[in-house]
């Protein structure tokens, strides 16, 4: 993570990846706290996509919307996390499979989610579209 010299804009790379921009002012890229939410969403998304593909559940679109409530005093960490998972492709008969994929990611596989504070209050809703 390297400071750009411009305001609170930082550029970061993974071990062998293209860079991303994070911005403390949340304009030129997500803020670090938004990026934390996005890393949870990406992690859950990757798991869900992989599990549905393995289970031969058709997937046209997948979106994870996340919202966190923060403590009012420093360090203002996340206290709650709400996730809305929107899936297009599976029909109502396949709802159980989609919910099972979400549950597996949340309970067993999602490395990012399990790296967070265990007292975080989490609500997840699955929407078939």
């Amino acid at each position: 993570m390297r400071w750009s010299g411009d305001g609170l804009v930082f550029e970061g790379v993974g071990a062998r990846s293209e860079p991303i921009i994070l911005d403390g002012d949340a304009k030129k890229g997500p803020s670090p706290m938004e990026a934390l939410l996005l890393s949870v969403g990406g992690c859950m998304g990757v798991d869900i996509q992989a599990i549905l593909e393995k289970g031969r559940v058709p997937l046209e679109a997948l979106e994870v919307e996340l919202e966190g409530q923060r403590a009012s005093s420093p360090p203002q960490r996340f206290l709650t996390l709400r996730m809305d998972i929107r899936v297009k492709g599976p029909d109502e008969e396949q709802r159980a499979k989609v919910e099972r994929a979400v549950q597996l990611s949340r309970d067993k596989y999602c490395s990012v989610f399990h790296s967070l504070q265990p007292d975080l209050k989490v609500t997840v809703a699955v929407h078939l579209e």
Copy 2:
């Protein structure tokens, strides 16, 4: 966070920010676990930059390198976190101020850091360059 339809590539946006790309294969963007590290680095970086600016400590360059060790079995969460913070600008006489800024971010301000599992083993090294 929206699936691109291409492998494990997801695009995410903050509330009013430019998008970032995360990639489960860690190529077109950082993986979600790398993005988690980058959000810690961005958060600490933003704090350190702001504290040094407030303290009128000259800053030419600031880099946060992060490495995490993961559990070997699912959910393979982070167990350790090592941070190397490289700062260019301050001289040796200002080292205490830089270390104080790092300490303040870590102990008091960094919202991302304090959203992580409290049992994470963390080591931080500050390098003046």
